[in-house]
Symmetry: C2
Subunit: 116 residues, 2 copies
Amino acid sequence: MFAQTPEPPYYAVIFTNQRSRQSADGDDGYADTAERMVALAKQQPGFLGVESVRGADGMGITVSYWSSEESIAGWRQHTEHTLAREQGRKRWYGQFSVRVAKVDRAYGMAPQGERS
Amino acid sequence: MFAQTPEPPYYAVIFTNQRSRQSADGDDGYADTAERMVALAKQQPGFLGVESVRGADGMGITVSYWSSEESIAGWRQHTEHTLAREQGRKRWYGQFSVRVAKVDRAYGMAPQGERS
């Protein structure tokens, strides 16, 4: 899933994470919450898109894109997102890093092989 | 694999990519080249670290970290890296995006549960 972002500048939140060992009864509510957070984020002012991958070893990278620092701060203060982050620290993640960055330039190759 | 980066500011190159359908005889040289590129990047001036994940569906996110725009430009001009990128466009990737961003702030949770 590629994010369709506008011309820079805009902001990226790079969330690198390692899932903790999963409990015997499944994923401990993680998948449902992750899906809910994406749905909520999409409703936030300034949300531009998200790209997320998880490997077989439980390592994951999620990058969300935002129009401004203010929109990032707004999402950070969202009550349900705050509660989910607490659960993440306690239950779901063994380790993580968050980096907030300003995207200055972007390019790529579209599915048909054209350069964008 | 988490990158051990210094205090911001520094730069991130966010490479989001989808592998093309793999040929019948394996990965078409992709894994060897990817490994070689990481080894080469680590030798570049200004390289700070790399984090990379690929999902079962062939979607991947690799984020490399650099001390300056100049160090990113230097790696981009590396001959072997330039050749590898050409192969990537032709053979290995169905689609990709590259975003260059300046990291302004970072935080996280260390493996023992301590905040960093």
